[in-house]
Symmetry: C2
Subunit: 100 residues, 2 copies
């Protein structure tokens, strides 16, 4: 094993409407700031969602000046859990699809 | 849409080591009683896990005399979320793989 989180941890991270939407936004746009357009969720809540995604190995974060930029670890996730992202991304993340 | 639960609900149901193990047991054995062999988890906890799996549309329950028997809704889940079960079942549920 590669030290990547277990499948249950990854599924738990994806098992929330906001986090699922964030992953779809990343897949569609390539990257995202902490607070993507179209989502009406408190910043502290979003910070927590991003942390859960990162700890599950789904995303990574880099600093650009004052901003954090999130990207999807697409190749790593596909290597560890083949087919999972295809299931998650089968429904696109349009702005109208934003939860809450 | 068919009235089946949303993907986030299904992923949340699968995002727990015990529930993931239960689904793998069902897939391997065809069906299960409430308390499958090899799992050291309190019965009340198991009842709650089975409820979450059932409400997510992953399993169904039938009564056989005094016992409840659980089965996996394999065709329904595959129709709604193609490929998801393949990801979940990629790791088999051997007795030594039981969580807790």
């Amino acid at each position: 094993m590669s030290g990547e989180p277990e499948l249950a941890v990854v599924l738990h991270a994806l098992g929330d409407p906001v986090r699922l939407w964030l992953v779809r936004v990343l897949a569609a746009q390539g990257e995202s700031t902490c607070s993507p357009d179209g989502l009406d969720v408190p910043r502290s809540t979003l910070t927590n969602h991003w942390r859960i995604l990162r700890e599950a190995g789904l995303t990574e974060t880099r600093q650009e000046g004052k901003h954090r930029v999130m990207t999807l670890r697409r190749a790593a996730v596909e290597a560890r859990h083949p087919g999972l992202l295809a299931v998650v991304l089968a429904e696109p993340a349009g702005p109208g699809a934003a939860p809450g």
